[in-house]
């Protein structure tokens, strides 16, 4: 219960109540709809700044990040817009394409459907966290070797997903790889080369 009370405080419920009572809000409630519409976006942002940001502590690619964010910020937007980790891509933003695939505590997830606050205390790995200096991760090497991409937009998600596909033990056969990579769409159609790259890494037997 203590935890809950603490969280109640963090959400700034009292600030929200206060805001609702301000004269600004009263004035807005009486304003004509057209004026409101025009002001909506800016207003939204201003309220966002006042109402609630919450603290988040999360380890990203081995670096501890402490930020304050709105509850509606997704992990994907936190990475791209706040931390400038733009390697993780926004494709559909609805969990359908897999371009935003990252690892949370070693498991692949869609960052676009993950509210950033839910990652408190977790470890996130993105495509930027794979290489060791100039030494690429074996899966990155394999994608280069096998031409596992054309435009490259889905590639970070493909690579993050591919690593887990092997770690999970789902890369026994090309068919199994196809099934377990089905959450990553490639519009260029580099699928066959992606499967080759994954099978190559799997057969290489390197720890990934």
């Amino acid at each position: 219960m203590d935890d809950q009370l603490r969280n109640e405080e963090q959400t700034g419920t009292s600030r929200r109540s206060f805001l609702k009572q301000t004269s600004l809000m009263t004035a807005l409630a009486l304003a004509p709809e057209t004026v409101l519409k025009a002001a909506e976006k800016e207003l939204d942002e201003k309220i966002a700044a006042v109402i609630e940001t919450m603290p988040l502590n999360v380890v990203i690619n081995g670096v501890k990040q402490s930020v304050r964010i709105e509850p509606r910020v997704t992990l994907l937007d936190l990475l791209r817009e706040r931390l400038q980790l733009t390697g993780t891509k926004k494709g559909c933003d609805h969990g359908q394409c897999g371009a935003c695939t990252v690892h949370i505590d070693g498991e692949r997830v869609n960052a676009c459907l993950t509210l950033a606050l839910t990652t408190e205390g977790r470890e996130v790995t993105t495509i930027e966290g794979l290489a060791d200096g100039d030494n690429l991760h074996p899966m990155q090497e394999a994608f280069l070797e096998h031409d596992g991409f054309q435009c490259g937009y889905c590639t970070p998600g493909q690579i993050m997903s591919a690593i887990c596909c092997i770690r999970e033990g789902h890369a026994g056969t090309p068919d199994e790889v196809r099934e377990y990579m089905s959450g990553n769409i490639c519009r260029c159609g580099a699928y066959s080369n992606i499967v080759d790259a994954i099978m190559d890494v799997k057969q290489g037997g390197k720890k990934i």
Binding site: P71, T118, G183
Partner: protein
């Protein structure tokens, strides 16, 4: 996305209290459906109560079956040795659903709570009685090839997309929920509901009630199980029609059988009449076809989904054939 406040709770009681007292609050588990609906403007809770840290993450063997905590991830259930041993149908169904990434996020309780839905539900420019009660149904007389052939109403013809729930209804699972008035148990078949005049209500949960666990009683049908999902592409798509079939055979006689379908109704569709017909019969194609005929008697096409009237019985027969031939994985 509409703004909302966020609270992270660490006990079921705190979670229940937080949602009971606030009509605009809702639980957040894996978020794979809820966050998506919020982004699309289909739903807009003012407060999210994050239940992901609650201690509901175990799979345990009880005297009578297995108990799965509501927050066990779909992947964990699908890969768990006890589940694979006792309820292979559940494992197969889960693996047929969504993508590996989504299954890593989605929980058992959350899978049950995903909305029964269709494209009109998602498209806020279109009428939808489920999203906006009284606004009409865009799918009736519209594009409805994905839609229901059983149990639809003149208010809603959407289908429940879960694969997991098809298996759980076939396996006679029981849902434990806890709410402000205490704990109660809901047979899985009574958890989801048909649309009737209130399609905005997908299930029989009361405000503030939290799913805590799902119990599956041991049975004799683990040996012969198959989940057959027919969809527009080979993987990662909702079912047009899916069939979960599990049976036990003694000298080619069907001693026990469980059958349920997905993609055909507002809720997972258990086929009890067909089960009753098959019990004690020989496992033959003719009997499977007769079972399918029994199932299809009340089926009704909406127009574009006419093909389901042929696809559904064929899928039932094929699933039973594969199950009987030990199509177990």
């Amino acid at each position: 996305m509409k703004q909302f406040s966020y609270v992270r709770v660490t006990s079921p009681d705190a979670a229940i209290a937080a949602v009971s007292k606030d009509k605009s609050a809702t639980f957040l588990a894996g978020g794979t459906n809820l966050v998506d609906l919020m982004k699309s403007g289909v739903t807009g809770p003012e407060r999210l109560v994050d239940i992901n840290r609650l201690p509901l993450t175990k799979i345990e063997e009880t005297k009578t079956g297995l108990r799965i905590g509501a927050l066990v991830k779909n992947t964990t259930v699908a890969e768990h040795p006890l589940i694979i041993k006792h309820f292979p149908l559940l494992s197969l169904a889960l693996k047929a659903g969504a993508s590996p990434q989504l299954r890593n996020m989605a929980t058992v309780g959350g899978n049950m709570m995903q909305r029964t839905r269709c494209h009109y539900f998602y498209d806020t420019a279109m009428p939808c009685n489920k999203r906006a009660p009284g606004s009409g149904c865009g799918a009736i007389g519209g594009f409805n090839r994905m839609h229901a052939i059983f149990g639809a109403s003149d208010k809603c013809i959407a289908v429940h997309p879960s694969d997991m729930c098809v298996a759980l209804t076939a396996l006679d699972a029981v849902v434990t929920v806890k709410g402000p008035k205490g704990e109660r148990k809901i047979p899985f078949g009574d958890f989801h509901r048909l649309p009737g005049d209130t399609p905005e209500v997908d299930n029989t949960l009361q405000r503030g009630e939290l799913i805590t666990a799902v119990d599956i009683p041991f049975n004799e049908v683990a040996g012969y199980a198959h989940y057959l999902k027919v969809r527009d592409r080979a993987s990662y798509a909702f079912a047009l029609v899916s069939v979960g079939a599990a049976l036990s055979l003694k000298d080619n006689n069907i001693a026990d059988v469980r059958l349920a379908m997905g993609g055909v109704a507002h809720k997972p569709w258990r086929l009890k009449e067909a089960e009753a017909f098959l019990k004690g019969k020989k496992a033959t194609i003719e009997n499977f076809q007769e079972a399918a005929r029994i199932v299809m008697a009340p089926a009704k096409s909406q127009g574009s989904n006419e093909f389901k009237l042929t696809l559904a019985p064929n899928t039932i027969v094929e699933a039973l054939k594969l199950a009987a031939a030990n199509g177990n994985i």
